[in-house]
Point group: C2
Chain length 383, copies 2
């Protein structure tokens, strides 16, 4: 570990890359002849290969979950508070793997990758990938890393959906599924917000049918709008009020459309910085994958029948002020697991931070994760 | 009343127009040398001139609250279910006046009007009008119509805010203020949604700084997005679910970005039809006016001190599933009125229709309005 990083940080990390040469046929019917996943690992795989934990990222996440890429990095990975030596997902015990999802824009094969058929980026021709497809691609990564089964698969939001799907699709390869701030399928309102975000991107004059790269353009206004809207749904009304209130930046009404309220400044800043790091085609793909997610679909809408396939132990966590995926949505998952006689623990954490809580160091939440991971028996800590 | 219209309809109505030649200085400091308001009336003013009711419209409303403009009109005015002979606001007893707000786009002076200084439409140069400015302009309309005081001023949402401001600014001219599905000021989340809507309009390549009329263009994508987003906030999650569910239009996943879910079709349709009837500059103005509304501002945030000026009796109505202006926001108004020893009745109506409930014929809601209006003593029903 480099000097200068906090003692319980995983320190400097280097992303790795795995090539897959076996064709992968996606749910949409398209076959990718080959693909790559970029990923990071923290901690060491033990000799019994039973201490591996898979972290699944959400809509705008990536493989950089913990640690730093450079000594002068100002910010660590997106879930650094949760992963590290002595942290809830303790890298002294666990070997943690976090890939960038297929279809992503942080290095794994996706819309930014070269389409072998054209020599140009896939862009809008990259197929829409589903949660099941992600599970399948992550299973191949597990094979490549020599991980027969995961001690745990965990994630928040869309990441939690992947954990749920993993437990259903690979019952023998998931011992614990940790499903945080998720839902068994999107509500109509969730889909509606996604549709507005997609419409913003697709109606941007710089979108060019998704081939903006051929026009040296970026649909930045649309992507910015999508992100601004997202941020509203990630935070609770109460936390917005306590953080930004109705404070006027200049102390008085300006009678114009420039930034006047602090919340406007916050949203614009969030939107602008997102545009610099995220690809619009990936945003479309990720939101569509969210819309489509519904493991009960092939069981006539019976979620209990779907989760009856799983043999993992489940931990389901929700947050009181989360209105994107409210506690009621988590309870639907819990109810289905109970109906299917699965082993499930459920915790609703009191937090005013809304959906974003899953990324934050909410004390009781982290204590729950810590205790849960501490309780997992492992063969040996030595590799 | 024309044959063919329902018996309890006000029937065929003709919008009227009032010119005002006395200058009006707005809160922003700009003076309009002259202006016009277009309005409709239903029923007859009695001899004592004490049966007049002012209807204040919301964000996207106009002066056409009831009745029909033509024998073959498919749809009546926006609040037709509430206004008419024998309806809750009974035009056999009351003389009902509904103006299009200053800054609107349905005929009153606003961004579409000719700017006398340039001979071109005002467009973005039309000043931002506040709720107090609307009250002031409506007071001039009352003067012109010979109405010394209103039996009631009522409205839903932004209309309810006008009713509240009327009671504060003109205590001697409002006998009843009916404040429906409103809030004493926007929450941070409310402002955030408005900001996203405005950003969508202003970043549309066809917006041209608000001078789209000079480019034969309309920022239709931006305005459409604003309306789509609005519709999500007008309806509850539950009613979206029960009306649209997760139904796929073609019965199966299409793996694309065209309309697949019914809710997408609904939102796009709402957006497209709005673009045909509404002006983008007015939308900006109306949302900014909402942001600015806060009658407590000049009382150091003390709403009770603001409403202490009022002498009207109040009826405050909220709807259980309204998350745009939730019952808690109405209770803030009620609490301030109680703290100021004002006369207030409060009803929270059970309805799953969300904010939109105020426009709908929710039986208990209409019974409450009917009873409240029946209880208002009037001098005489004869003009």
């Amino acid at each position: 570990m480099s000097a200068g990083f906090p003692a319980n940080s995983v320190g400097l990390v280097v992303p790795q890359r795995q090539h897959f040469e076996a064709p992968l046929t996606l749910e949409c019917g398209v076959t990718l002849e080959r693909f790559e996943l970029v990923y990071e690992t923290y901690g060491r795989l033990n000799a019994a290969r039973d201490n591996a934990v898979l972290i699944c990222h959400a809509l705008s996440g990536d493989h950089h979950a913990a640690g730093y890429h450079a000594a002068d990095d100002r910010r660590p990975g997106w879930w650094d508070n949760c992963i590290g030596p002595g942290r809830p997902v303790d890298t002294n015990r666990f070997f943690v793997v976090c890939p960038n999802n297929l279809g992503g824009c942080a290095g794994s094969t996706g819309p930014l990758s070269e389409n072998p058929a054209t020599g140009r980026p896939f862009g809008p021709d990259f197929p829409i990938v589903t949660v099941r497809d992600w599970v399948e691609s992550q299973a191949r990564l597990a094979d490549a890393l020599g991980i027969p089964s995961w001690a745990a698969v965990l994630g928040g939001s869309l990441g939690g959906m992947q954990a749920l799907q993993w437990a259903i699709d690979y019952p023998d390869r998931v011992r614990h599924a940790v499903v945080i701030a998720a839902a068994p399928k999107l509500s109509t309102q969730n889909i509606a917000f996604n549709e507005v975000a997609r419409h913003a991107i697709r109606s941007d004059a710089n979108f060019h049918g998704g081939r903006y790269f051929d026009h040296d353009a970026v649909p930045e206004h649309g992507l910015m709008l999508a992100r601004m809207l997202g941020h509203i749904t990630y935070l609770s009304d109460d936390v917005l009020m306590s953080r930004f209130g109705r404070e006027l930046r200049d102390g008085k009404i300006g009678f114009g459309y420039d930034v006047e309220f602090q919340i406007e400044s916050y949203l614009r800043h969030q939107g602008e910085s997102f545009v610099k790091r995220f690809d619009a085609n990936t945003y479309l793909l990720m939101t569509r994958s969210l819309d489509y997610f519904d493991p009960s679909r092939e069981f006539n809408g019976n979620l209990a029948a779907a989760v009856a396939r799983a043999s993992a132990k489940f931990l389901v966590v929700s947050f009181s002020s989360d209105w994107r995926f409210s506690p009621a949505r988590s309870r639907e998952i819990v109810r289905a697991l109970l109906d299917a006689d699965r082993d499930v623990s459920y915790v609703e954490i009191e937090s005013e931070q809304g959906h974003d809580s899953f990324l934050l160091e909410v004390p009781l939440y982290h204590r729950v994760l810590r205790t849960y991971f501490q309780g997992m028996p492992l063969s040996s800590l030595e590799p």
